[in-house]
């Protein structure tokens, strides 16, 4: 018999104590692995989603982190709104004139290029309007450019694809301005599909429902991004919902605006005038990445808006909150492993009195001191390995079972063997500490007096 077989027999001989020690170790490891693993999934999701295909988010003055959280992750509450004219600052003279002609507004707006238009030539600026909900999910008003110009994935080379239907259009024959595309999660949870109509609620998930509804024209394939958890609607339709038009004072209006407003008021399905419009934020990709810091400075020096770099904000968040959290988790991991190792030590050391005769017999049969020492160490490692591996499996089975919930929260559905790099240290750590824990009883085995214990 080799040392491993002898150690395994010892494990079996004291099966109750061995199994209880192994279970306590497995539970400790499972808890730690689960926490670290979920932490890894969440932080990976945050980091990956920070790479979104645009380098700036422009919104009202306030916290840049809050702006990033509500525009990139659709978390937290929007700060405030920006006048639509701020969005028009990203357009060329021709585009601005077109907007004035289409929606009605001050003709002066169309006489010059937007202040930031030069920076986004070759890039894009996509407006977002937030504030409504479909069930528990955010409704995001935006333009068809959202689907035409944004891409996702590690290399930002994947266009949004649809399990069913298509992207929203600016205006369609069938549904006018009231088209919506749902993220995969929204469609699944709300049990709706293409052709169904929904009525967003205003302000929060339990808020008052709007009278106007959106018809679902597409359901996106899962992307593993926060877009899986939103209902994307046409910005024009969003503006037409009750309470979404910005109140304006008549005395501020030019003649042209006053005429356009009168036209809009008469037809409830006609797009709002420029002055009535607001955006929550604008997703901006500069034509050249080097323009990013430059335009950010220009915007931040202005009085209306701020520009935040999502990657920078998320990195700051990670460093400020998540990094200390990781440190705390690692400390908990080490403590858990130490407690587990002490459990092994106590279990084996308490059994040493019973083992002395066995050790003496083995020595009398020719076992060397280091052989009986190794048997104890290997037994300790066996408990650590079985407990550690079972705990790891238990944690991953738990994560797998909770995959739906995790996906709902993070946009990522972890597989049963989706591992976080942090958890890879646990098994070696447990084995190392178990080897240390085995040293004390192993030393007792080493010192066992053979002749005194043979006839005991």
């Amino acid at each position: 018999m080799n040392i491993l077989q002898i150690a395994w027999r010892n494990f079996q001989q004291r099966s109750l104590a061995s199994v209880l020690t192994t279970i306590s170790l497995a539970l400790g490891v499972a808890l730690t692995v689960a926490v670290l693993s979920v932490y890894g999934i969440v932080s990976d999701a945050f980091e990956r989603n920070a790479s979104v295909g645009y380098n700036l988010v422009v919104g009202p003055k306030g916290s840049p982190l809050q702006l990033t959280l509500n525009s990139v992750y659709y978390l937290s509450q929007p700060i405030e709104n920006l006048p639509y004219t701020q969005y028009m600052e990203f357009m060329s003279k021709e585009q601005r004139a077109e907007q004035v002609a289409m929606y009605g507004g001050d003709p002066e707006l169309g006489t010059r290029d937007g202040n930031y238009s030069a920076y986004v030539r070759g890039g894009f600026a996509i407006p977002l309007a937030l504030g409504d909900y479909f069930g528990q999910f955010r409704v995001v008003g935006t333009t068809p450019d959202f689907f035409k110009k944004l891409q996702y994935g590690l290399d930002l080379d994947k266009p949004f694809e649809f399990t069913d239907g298509r992207a929203i259009e600016h205006h369609s024959e069938e549904y006018g301005y009231f088209e919506a595309v749902l993220g995969s999660r929204v469609a699944e949870e709300m049990k709706v599909g293409v052709g169904d109509e929904f009525f967003p609620t205003h302000g929060d998930p339990t808020g008052e429902g709007h009278e106007l509804g959106f018809t679902i024209v597409g359901v996106m394939k899962p992307t593993g991004t926060p877009n899986d958890r939103v209902a994307i609607v046409n910005l024009e339709g969003f503006y037409l919902m009750g309470g979404h038009a910005k109140p304006i004072k008549d005395e501020d209006l030019s003649e042209a605006e006053r005429a356009a407003l009168a036209e809009t008021s008469a037809d409830k399905l006609k797009p709002l005038t420029i002055r009535q419009r607001e955006v929550t934020s604008i997703l901006v990709r500069t034509g050249n990445p080097l323009f990013g810091p430059q335009i950010q400075n220009v915007i931040n020096e202005g009085i209306y808006a701020q520009a935040a770099a999502p990657i920078l904000e998320i990195t700051k968040l990670m460093n400020l909150i998540v990094a200390p959290l990781l440190t705390a988790l690692m400390v908990i991991t080490v403590i858990t492993c130490i407690v587990a190792a002490v459990g092994i030590l106590v279990s084996i050391y308490n059994s040493m009195n019973d083992r002395r005769r066995d050790i003496a017999v083995m020595r009398a049969l020719g076992a060397r001191r280091d052989t009986v020492t190794s048997v104890i160490l290997v037994e300790s490692l066996l408990i650590a390995f079985i407990g550690g591996f079972s705990g790891w499996l238990l944690a991953h089975a738990g994560i797998w079972l909770a995959g739906g919930y995790i996906e709902a929260q993070t946009g990522i559905r972890p597989g049963i063997f989706t591992t976080s790099p942090y958890e890879l240290i646990i098994l070696p750590l447990v084995l190392g500490l178990a080897a240390l824990a085995g040293l004390l009883p192993a030393a007792a085995a080493y010192r066992t007096d053979v002749t005194a214990n043979l006839n005991a």
């Binding site: 018999m1 080799n2 083995m362 020719g366 076992a367 001191r369 053979v450 043979l454 006839n455």
Partner: protein, 229 residues
Amino acid sequence: MLNLNGLKKSFPQPGGGRLPVLEIPHFSIQPGEQSVLIGRSGGGKTTLLHLIAGLTTPDEGSIRVGDIELTQLSEAGRDRYRAAMLGYVFQTFNLLPGFTALENVRLGMSFASGRHDLGRAHELLARVGLADRADYRPSQLSVGQQQRVAIARALSSKPKLLLADEPTANVDPASQQQVIDLIRETCRDEQIALLLVTHTMEVADQFERVENLADLNLAYQAVAGATAS
């Protein structure tokens, strides 16, 4: 096979000083010879076996087994000697309770290099009449069966010398003769020298060579003489 010369062993006393327990000027056993050693309890029989097994070391003298001088060996060397050359049958059997009969026998050959012969373990169990009890644990065997497993274990590494310390002391009378016969026959068949310690004259009378430790051990004689005077 076994040669003891000028062997002395003493143990420290609680009040200080040392108590001599063994002083054997000379004792030897030839290869394949079967010898029995009798003596009273506390006469140093087990200490002598421990010395021959290399489990403890003498204060003085020489213990030679074959070509090996035990007193010159390191502890690891004595471990190797026990694993390779010595079989030991204990009075209390000393089977490992968590191991099956077969595993106990295999354990006897586990510590010598190149002797992991599963076939021999089965063969020995068959020889002691326990082929059908290979997977039984000691607690599932009778006392006599346990001692037979212990004998199989002692023989598993093909020793040159077998030490048997009161092998029938804990065995029921009906099984005593079986145990003695088994030990003697196996040693004879495998040309193993046997030194069997007993205080039972019925057992001793079956051997051609019977040594009384009281006659061999000068330390015992000195104590006995002092007590008599």
